[in-house]
Symmetry: C2
């Protein structure tokens, strides 16, 4: 067991790069994997065409960083700009996802650190995100980065059909 862990750890060389439209099939798989974990698979309505149009046109609405091992995608960070009336442009981390079999190897930390780097390049005052109150592993993960948490806010929503 120890040997296996040791070998995995040593051999994994993780590369982080920006996603291109060619990656979107795998991106959608990652999105569905996380939605399953969050018990909300039926909420995933997004399509590859939509992601292509919205993320890779003249005005990209989001950016994706991919983590790869030997050219295989093993995780991603999905982020965009949100505008606060108190602090202006914020980087909002929508999702950070690592494939099940690659968890516990620092991939998430690497993606989070690279997203912080992206936030600082954008000169935003804050990087923000949301986490489910029952998701202990995620909460503990963010605590390592000295994150602040505010549980006072409730999410509200109206759905539209066309």
């Amino acid at each position: 067991m120890f040997v296996n862990y040791f070998i995995t750890f040593v051999l994994m060389e993780i590369r982080v790069r920006k996603a291109t439209p060619e990656d979107l099939t795998e991106v959608v798989e990652l999105i569905k994997e996380l939605a399953g974990y969050e018990k909300a698979s039926s909420e995933v309505k997004i399509t590859i065409d939509e992601l292509k149009k919205d993320g890779f046109g003249n005005q990209p609405w989001f950016w994706i960083l991919l983590a790869e091992v030997e050219n295989q995608i093993i995780g991603m960070s999905f982020y965009y700009i949100r505008y606060s009336t108190w602090t202006g442009k914020n980087l909002y981390l929508e999702d950070i996802i690592v494939k099940q079999q690659y968890r516990g190897n620092g991939v998430g930390q690497l993606l989070f650190a690279e997203t912080i780097k992206a936030a600082k390049e954008l000169k935003v005052r804050q990087m923000i995100w949301q986490v489910l109150d029952w998701n202990e592993p995620a909460l503990n993960f963010y605590k390592k980065f000295d994150a602040e948490f505010d549980p006072q806010w409730i999410n509200g929503k109206l759905r539209f059909e066309y």
Copy 2:
């Protein structure tokens, strides 16, 4: 007392229009008024210049609807696009603010309804926002519109200094 209320109600003709850069001094006043109510005045770092640059350039990061009575600004809705990996483009209502002395006259409802209209013009699947869990008047307001609420999410944050 009854007479006063009656007169106020009848005479108020409310107009809703998009904000221009010339309105930003008053917009910042409204932002500060809400921050005071939410017990967070010291959190307001935004400047008029920043709002001008970010909201009225080639790529606007937000939009503002203003409610006016006799050319006097009495409230606003401040919104922008957020990108969900589940539902694509969402309209996010950052703030809906009505000046204290004009509350209770349907100004907030009018602004909310106009924001729903903007959301539908943008063909987004959802309109979303956050509300403080102790803000009963706001929660009751949104319930009138059959909004869904999800209290499971905690806001996380990292602050950056440059």
